[in-house]
Symmetry: C2
């Protein structure tokens, strides 16, 4: 227990990350100071935003430094505590990153209810992805009953929640996902009205056919060719929350022309469309309680379903993360680091 | 008085409009039916949006048909009336288009106060351009005291009002205009903190220097190279009301690459920016009264100044409109059709 395995950023990727961009190192566990807590990582969340942190181009958050531990949300168990609010055995939500153990100030931790059947849900439906879905859809998207909501990456951690909330609000909901198995899950298990496989050669035509009244809200997780198919279908007064653009995260240069930037702006003008980016905790941190109450009720009532894609072993996190960027996960990707 | 001169759309422009796209025709004035009013056009408003109506590509409003009268807002005098609410001599705001006379149903007209010293202001600060500035800035832009507001086409009918309202709200206001004379007017007469000439070779560097704290609200009237200089200066949580894109109205094809559409979306995401198009009467028609009250008070108190660029003679409207698209006007462009 005195050895801490950590996965650090070994080098910055050019294009798609490779295993060589990561390195597993071992270090000793520090001694606890006052108010500090020693955490054993149980679950590590893997999320697309981490690709941005591997690069040092300007973004909304500083990059991970070379040779520093990769960042990430975690569910952890308290192993030792110098903080009055935490005792050994407590389960907490933390931001410990890709490592077995971490020392945290108690003030940075949120204790999870011991009644949670599956504590890793705090990294999914009840955590950052669920909160992202909830606020992006409801606050920026403002869906109204009867409207058509299209959700990119519909089987993913955020998209799956977006679509189910939109169904609860009375919308027609069309998902976009990569693969027939994901599309079947989105319709059969999550209850979307339709789901289009972006890998089909006639994807754009299928999407248009699934949206006979156009698109009123498009929840953007992907960009690239998916957005190209969505753009001509957007209705007057459409809303486009921009949550992620995974199709371009590995791009090291701009795509070839023509330059469609002005065309996009012209479409926003002619159709009076709102397009808005957001970063969940920066923009909506003060409304977490509202989300947590609503989502807890929906989950308890079985109104929102949630699928986890679980990988075993911290050492497998880099390969799992690379697969996430390639769309290989099916559901919210977490690494089980310890039981 | 029985002859009505009309300017009709002779052909659709390819690229910049030319005089050949317009044709002056003469017709008889129709006989009035019940509830109808005969109007003599006094002032015709010329506005950039009219370029869109000359093309038959999809837009927010149907195009002007070939050989139909060009559309436009007008201030007119009642010459004859079959409507109980209007009598000969009343001055009204109408949408009569590019012609000497028009017949209108009384229900479509707004009577102007006889106390208006300059009735053409109903086509400018107190009309569509002022309303556009007011709602785009205040409702979409949401400027806060101390923030930096940048206004494109700052000496134009909309931009001049945007900047003055932003000053009233306590913002640092930087205009962008084409030419030293316009920039001097924007600073010296309208009270903007700075105005940058977009024709300067180091325009982008000058704009950056004038916005040391970045840009919080960018009121977009122009697009093209002006937006290129603005984009890297936008702050986290910036708001971009998209009111017009005059730089590209004459484009018949997309500019050469690379394709920056994804880069724009990525910037919206990373910086959590809201970009929103709007069409004033469609989106905000129900709030006209609020605007009219506020603007009337500001004008009466001398807090908002307004410059008109007046051209004499209906027959000169086509050339004046072509000049408007080239930035040759200085202030709100109106045609004096009759006294």
């Amino acid at each position: 227990m005195t050895i801490n395995r950590q996965i650090v950023l070994n080098s910055r990727p050019v294009g798609a990350p490779t295993l060589e961009n990561f390195r597993l190192v071992e270090s000793k566990i520090p001694v606890l100071a006052a108010d500090e807590v020693l955490l054993r990582t149980m679950y590590l969340s893997l999320d697309p935003y981490m690709r941005g942190r591997m690069s040092d181009t300007p973004s909304y958050a500083p990059p991970v430094e070379l040779n520093a531990v990769m960042v990430g949300g975690t569910v952890a168990r308290v192993e030792a505590s110098n903080h009055a609010d935490f005792k050994v055995g407590d389960i907490v939500l933390s931001f410990s990153g890709w490592q077995d153990y971490a020392v945290a100030n108690g003030a940075s931790l949120n204790k999870l209810s011991p009644t949670l059947a599956q504590p890793s849900i705090a990294l999914g439906a009840l955590g950052m992805p669920g909160f992202t879905a909830y606020m992006g859809l409801l606050d920026i998207g403002q869906p109204k009953a009867g409207e058509t909501v299209v959700v990119a990456a519909a089987s993913g951690a955020v998209g799956a929640i977006v679509g189910q909330i939109a169904k609860l609000k009375g919308c027609r909901v069309v998902g976009i996902a990569g693969g027939a198995d994901k599309c079947a899950y989105v319709v059969d298990e999550l209850g979307f009205d339709a789901c289009i496989d972006r890998k089909n050669s006639d994807f754009a035509a299928q999407l248009a056919a699934a949206c006979p009244a156009g698109i009123d809200v498009y929840f953007e997780n992907v960009g690239g060719a998916v957005f190209d198919a969505v753009l001509p279908l957007l209705n007057v007064s459409a809303r486009v929350p921009v949550c992620g653009l995974i199709a371009s995260y590995n791009d090291s240069q701009l795509p070839a022309g023509p330059d469609r930037m002005g065309m996009l702006m012209s479409t926003l003008l002619k159709k009076r469309i709102k397009m808005q980016g957001f970063i969940i905790f920066d923009d909506y941190g003060h409304r977490y309680g509202e989300f947590f109450t609503a989502m807890s009720e929906w989950l308890a009532a079985g109104k929102i379903k949630f699928k986890e894609d679980r990988v075993d072993g911290l050492e497998n996190a880099p390969a799992a993360f690379i697969g996430l960027l390639e769309g290989k996960n099916f559901g919210k990707l977490v690494v089980r680091v310890a039981d």
